[in-house]
């Protein structure tokens, strides 16, 4: 299937919630939450990016990863789930 990419990112970073908020604010993202497993995994979203697009948004990914606190950022792929 044609892949789709959303405006949600998984961001792995050093530091705590405060640092995550600062990284998000600095990059124009919203830090939605910390994931309760793994280390320093956060869920970011950006309202300026289309909700679903066929091409990755490399610019915002690199922009995030330029921040020294950010280890890496992964744009979330969109897929379908159905109610049964």
């Amino acid at each position: 299937h044609q892949k789709l990419y959303t405006n949600h990112f998984l961001v792995e970073l050093d530091g705590g919630d405060g640092d995550a908020q600062r990284v998000a604010t600095d990059s124009g993202f919203i830090a939605l939450r910390k994931l309760p497993f793994g280390d320093g995994l956060y869920h970011f979203a950006h309202n300026g990016i289309p909700k679903a697009r066929q091409r990755r948004n490399t610019r915002y990914k690199l922009y995030l990863e330029k921040n020294p606190r950010v280890k890496h950022a992964v744009q979330q792929e969109a897929f379908n789930r159905r109610k049964r």
């Binding site: 309760p36 869920h43 979203a45 792929e77 789930r81 159905r82 109610k83």
Partner: protein, 529 residues
Amino acid sequence: GYRSIREIGIMMNDPLFTKQWYLVNTGQADGTPGLDLNVAEAWELGYTGKGVTIAIMDDGIDYLHPDLAENYNAEASYDFSSNDPYPYPRYTDDWFNSHGTRCAGEVSAAANNNICGVGVAYSSRVAGIRMLDQPFMTDIIEASSISHMPQIIDIYSASWGPTDDGKTVDGPRELTLQAMADGVNKGRNGKGSIYVWASGDGGSYDDCNCDGYASSMWTISINSAINDGRTALYDESCSSTLASTFSNGRKRNPEAGVATTDLYGNCTLRHSGTSAAAPEAAGVFALALEANPTLTWRDMQHLTVLTSKRNQLHDEVHKWRRNGVGLEFNHLFGYGVLDAGGMVKMARDWKTVPERFHCVGGSVQEPQAISSDNKMVLKISTDACEGKDNFVRYLEHVQAVVTMNSTRRGDLNANLTSPMGTKSILLSRRPRDDDSKVGFDKWPFMTTHTWGEDPRGTWILEVGFVGGTEQKGVLKEWTLMLHGTQSAPYIDQRVSDYQSKLAMSKKEELEEELDEAVERSLKSLLRKN
């Protein structure tokens, strides 16, 4: 194992209670009396789900519904579709977002309040996790839902999955797998979160082993029967299904549907699809957890295998069979219909099962051609890591991790036969699947049918094509993964019913342990002489 209908003295004033045949089946809508979840026995013993929280991962919950509000656990609820703590369903003209509210009613609808019906675990608490109602699903939303408050939420119920169109092969992505692993290892303060999955709505065109959520070892995959024991028309079948509960699914009779709560304070008799299977099972597991809060995620699967009953379930396509240690199973119903009474009685005295080990039984890495002329047969002889620390002597789950491609994926058919002679259908034909590019890439086909067996010996994998046209394929890799215990899981369990599967399994284990002990002593004597 049947009970007389007259023994059941459960009377509730909830108007839909008498129509909830999956709770107490007295033959409503041409159903089969006695074919139900046997919750009456559990309730009579005092188990109604007190202290247990079940999360419904779905499109939200009408937590203002008078039949749900009392048991609603707001603290454990969240809305990952809109990122706020209020998982109230979004209104649509066709009430499209009623799914979660209907599932919640089957688990936790309050009893004796003269509203709608009664939940299987009517004193349990229900949390809403709204995570299906956004334009697209993402790995991070699934992972966040599956790992939400694992120290408060005991059971996660899911009645959704990849599209059941008979041509999809899909499952949890990386983050969600990590979340599940974290849940079963650390959830419930180390006892493990319990994930319950409805196996699928794809009917005979699909195979739920192609659904990575349902076929995961970490989820209890539940199928559904209708009120007279037949299969629902939308039932899929696969070897990873562990047990069954009930849903509508074949009859026009409105009372043969599943009665539960509906949006905006309403009730419904027509909750359709296999989605009701998971919350009903979650309710039964909640009763067992109340009886024994120390049960681990694996204990729950063992109890499911040991207490589920064939009862009066019948499947025209797949016959009921017995595995190598005498446990009766069916390719669609698993080990049978859940028996809440039997489960809580066994749960009360249950001692947690021994440590679980994982062994790579063997692997075939050379490419093997698959043709339409005859089946390709591969054999792996394994000692199940005997003599090593990770020796697996008593099986729980078995996975055949397979990489294969073909000119038409849907015509592929795969069977796995264990050393003790139990044949599992790993993959059935899926006539709508015309994939010729993606195939299966390290896909973990799982079977629960060899539960309790001794894995040592030769495993046989047969792969072929079924269907009229000539096809070609290649199997690139097969790795046999064995998961189970080193010591006998039932030998220390207390048996109260000598007709039960537990009694039979315990006797089998005692005999085998005795044989092996005698064998060991003979060998040491011979060595000395």
